[in-house]
Amino acid sequence: MLKRVAITGIGVCSSLGFCEEEILSNLKKPGVLFSASSFDDGVAVCPVHDFNIKDFTGRFKQRRYLNRGSQLCVASAIEAIKSSGIKQDAWSEAGLFIGSGPNLDIGGEFPEVKKGEIDHDDLMALWMLKFLPNTAASAIATYAGIHGENLTINTACAASMQALGEAFRKIKHGYLNLALAGGGDSRLNPGGILAYRKAGAIFSGSKNPDNASRPFDTKRKGFVPGEGGAIFVLEEMEHARMRGASIHAEICGFGSSMDGYSMTAPEPSAQWGEKALLSALHEAGMSPEDIDVVSSHGTGTLLNDAMEVNLLHRIFKDHHPHVIALKSWIGHIAAACGAIELAVVLACIKSNYFPRIRNLDEACHDKINFAREDKKIAGRTVLLENFGFGGQNSAIIIRKVDN
């Protein structure tokens, strides 16, 4: 028999804050969210302030091998475990599903590279761990004593949503009762910014960083890179109810696909993105009319948003779910964007408050119900979507559950 899957713990380290209350409060506060990069003032960034991994781990020598994205991931996992109230010995059988990105901080790790000679005095014996994709997962497993089925997923900006989807299915199909899933990423270092700037993906040349991210606006010119982590405790519904857990939401369906079209650009007709969305709806046993809110990928790049509006229009036709674009608030957090957007969505459905799309003056499509204002909406069912470099498509559907 197929199982239902509940979200029973949340850990988040984001530019909007480290818990649901802080996220909501900062979504409602008028204030500056983005700033100019310290080494490239034409580039706007969205950093996490006041983050020190040691505040989360205490004494934990494995910390030395964590790049910043992994640090944000591990800290989020520790908070998720705490928030679930699940006792230490239960984690032994749990699963672990992490979306991670590459460490692009090449200059920071090898500050004096000359003629390809990368060795230097401060280089650790196991410096490679800072570059291996599963280092965050390894640290989390060591910290929490996790020994179950696991995956580290590196599918660019779809990675953490796919991690959530894979964990969801492992529980749904009875392989696990309990799992941690989500991700962490940071590319706000010179190597990361250089990579994005050369690829022409980020907004560059802004005098006002706060206006740089404008998803679905006709004047959009690229995304604002952010950083952060979010990890969730996923639990089989009866398992959660038996222990009286507080249930933040139910995961109802998931879908993923690949464009097989370009190394970077999305396939413009979005036929394969559509496949991912329809798979998620099918698995959830829902029709497009059941969706109240869409948390769009909405990067604010010309190509993504053009593809995404066509997709949304085709899927939803005359039904007009409320479309939000959280990257206008938290920047684009690459491999971790899906997890952090889910954390924000969970804060929103709990309070029935959904924020407007920032800087959306003139929409690039007139048939989509974009969130033009901050709104109180009793949205119970949310479709979240993420698309990534390499033609990675993913979608997940969550539903509010009355405890």
């Binding site: 910390r63 030395r64 005095d121 401060d122 280089l123 014996a125 196991l126």
Partner: protein, 123 residues
Amino acid sequence: MNAEILDKIKEILAVILDVEKQGITAETYIIRSLGAESIDLLEVAVSLNSEFKVNITENDIFLIRLREQITEAEEQGRDTGKYLAKTLPFLPRSRIDEILKDLDGGPVLKVKDIVCYIDRAIK
């Protein structure tokens, strides 16, 4: 004991093992008390090499072959203390005697052993 070397070694151990430097003395057991594992010793060796510009033989500096060497001495019918003084020449004879009385307590490696190794290597 060379105080400057001791101080630098304490600093290296504090960073790698994520412990307070003030809690480390020359008499602190590195494995038994600070919980160092082989991966940590690997990092310590790299840091010592970079700090003191000396080649580190991990088997020697971390007394990795100590118990094997004791068995070798016994099998060859030789005096264990004298044998260890030859295989681990950087350790004073008084320290070797101390180690031989301490074997039942677990891994014997102390901070001062590393200080002795570095001190000799520099000279």
